[in-house]
Amino acid sequence: MYSNQSQETGLLISLEVDSAIPLYLQLRDRIVQAIASGELRDGDSLPPTRRLAADLGINMHTVNKAYDMLRQEGLIRLGRRTGAVVRRAQGGDSEIAEWEARARTLLAEAVAKGLTPAEALARCQTILDDFDEPAGVA
């Protein structure tokens, strides 16, 4: 049912309203995951800020903030005419280093909570395998 003119792909977005994680961060995380899993591909459009905010019934600034964060991370391009377009990053050194620092924290949490390094690694592999599956599996 998707037309050829619009490169906008369907995405199911679900935000938890009273979570400790702010809405904009949840939205950003969802989009990052959609890029990783192939639900969103290089060149796909994200919905216009206003429309997405209206469908979710949330403030436009929340969506703006998420898109702005994704832009700073190099995951989307924001254009006046094109809107938000996914750009699958090539992985700049500084971005990778920043990611590694956060991965270190997450893995430290796993070890601190009693996971052996081998278990932690196996779980990471499972997650990465999920990303490899064909797009559209929600």
Binding site: M1, E8, L11, L12, G57
Partner: protein
Amino acid sequence: MNALPVLLLAAFEWLMPSLIPRTVPFGVRIPGARAAEPVVTRQRRIYRYGIVAVSAAAVAAALLAGPLPGIVVEIAGAFAFFQVARLTIRSAKRRENWYGGLRQVVVADTSLRAERRPYPWLWALPSIAVTTATVILGVVRYPHLHGQVATHYDIAGRPDRHAAVSPFSIFGPVVVQVLLTAMLLGLAATALRGTARLDAEDPQAAAERQRRFRVIETRSLLGLAALFSVVFLLDGLSRFQIADLAWARVLLPIGLVAVLAFLLWAGQNGSRLRVQGQAADGRTTNEDDDRYWWFGMFYANRDDPSLIVPKRFGIGRTVNLGHPLAWVLLVATLAIPLILQ
């Protein structure tokens, strides 16, 4: 005849609890798992008894004092019983902490509005053709008109005011007809592409329901546009002194009931359309958004950029009073009939 509008309203109000999504009984947001709580079914029963009682009083008022007092009694009485049901369910929800331990989420399926949906011009054609014909007939006939024309009808459709032939008395209704048709065609476009609010407990089924309902709603609005333009044309035929087809006025209630029945069958926002769904996980539910709904009926949310949203207790859509444009729209809707009078 005087009691007819009251009876139609009463039937509509009586049916309403069955036409709305199950997670908003009487304007109160509840988790789906609570939809069959005894307090909810009990309030639905009490409300319906209330509607029967109110309608009996309203019919009496209509017969004794005329259709308008009857309508006022009906609406005010139904509103009162609605509020009783709303407040009772709301206090049960708070007392028993129905949202305890649940994850409240808002969801969007971006494919729903990304899909291109062509405007059904074929369905819009009858109203456009009939309205154009009315304009042409009026212009052609105007030089030949003389005497008095009816300019106002009472609620039962009998002319109760007349005026001499003038551009205003002849073309006033034509202007209303053009505006009304344009408005309905515009609303149909909104129905096709407007804001989607999905049930977080089963977003995929909700999205499919939306797809089907949008087609139904759009066609209903275009059907309504066709109906109104035909009624205006018939009125024009008598005003332009071509033919007096006063009997054809019955078309209006018959057509209205037909369009309404079509919409009612689908339920508010398509809630009655049967769609293959998945069982909810039991922990995820819709955001408790009662605070945005004054009296469980009027929506005001400053954060929400939507101007038009689905009604909570009723059929169709309502404006977001937290949106500045809503007030412009409301004032304009009130002002246009006043200016035309």
